[in-house]
Assembly symmetry: C2
Homo-oligomer: 143 residues x 2
DNA sequence: GCCATAATTGAAAGTGATTTTCAATATACA
DNA sequence: TGTATATTGAAAATCACTTTCAATTATGGC
């Protein structure tokens, strides 16, 4: 899993004529062993703990590359921070976000995806991607 | 329709101990007579055309109040600009966004909303609001 | 290995959108 | 009216990135 993503990234790097660097390896390692939905800031702090030399700009740049290579996806939950989550090829899911404690639940629903396509088709649209986020309170936070 | 929203906003202002001002009236007027999904910048420029004295900060602040009062909703289509659309109480819709020309189609789908509730319930969540955006190419842009 | 070439890096400066500050001004209501 | 309080616009500040640039590092060919 981790290895598969590392391989995909290495191949992406090679195919683009980019270089494999110590920093990219470290960032990928830490990223893949992190919780999903980490903000860039959170990942940066986590990185700094073990690898003090890594620059902010490098983290930003590298996460973009992860997304471009297909091993990660950029997400925005409306709090002004960009987050990245690791994602396998062909995988897709949507999110349930607790506005109380920040808990995030991932779900997939084929019926909704189907309906989305039908709606789009009805308006003549060809859908490339979509964003579905449900915000509310989790069981704990409902009190 | 416009009058109803004006009334709601006036009541909101009064209930909060805020004041009714010339600027708020003007901004509300221009906002309500504008296309939906205008960015703050676009609205600001439109305002400046007839009312050169209005400040940027006032527009930002006032739009926030509109959203808080329930007559408007803040939206983000991922282009880094905040937009506001006017919305009547109890009204809800989602968006289809053409990434080619920027066209936005609004739609409602009861079946999807229903499924969302079921999913949320399945995870013990109580949904407060949601965001569903379908991105792709409109009929024209598909070429 | 050693070199030339091109990509990468970190620090710092720059951006763009939005927010805050603050002194002047306007509103509400006694 | 008068007075307390909210509001305003301009400018400065903030926030989350993004770009610049000189120094450093990978890579591929000898
Ligand atoms: Mn996720
Ligand atoms: Mn809309
Ligand atoms: Zn919660
Ligand atoms: Zn289009």
């Amino acid at each position: 899993m981790k290895q598969a993503k590392k391989k995909i990234f290495q191949e992406f790097i090679a195919a683009k004529g980019l270089k494999s660097t110590r920093q990219r390896d470290i960032i990928l390692d830490v990223f893949l062993s992190s919780d999903r939905h980490l903000s860039i800031e959170e990942l940066y702090l986590k990185l700094r703990a073990k690898h003090p030399g890594i620059g902010y700009a490098t983290v930003y740049r590298t996460l973009k590359l992860f997304a471009e290579s297909g091993i990660a996806r950029e997400i925005h939950f409306g709090d002004g921070q960009t987050r990245y989550e690791h994602l396998a090829a062909g995988e897709h899911h949507d999110h349930l976000v607790c506005t109380g404690c920040g808990t995030i639940v991932e779900f997939e629903n084929e019926a909704i995806e189907q309906l989305q396509d039908e709606i789009a088709a009805g308006y003549g649209f060809l859908i490339k991607n979509h964003k579905l986020e449900l915000y509310g309170l989790c069981a704990k936070c409902r009190g």
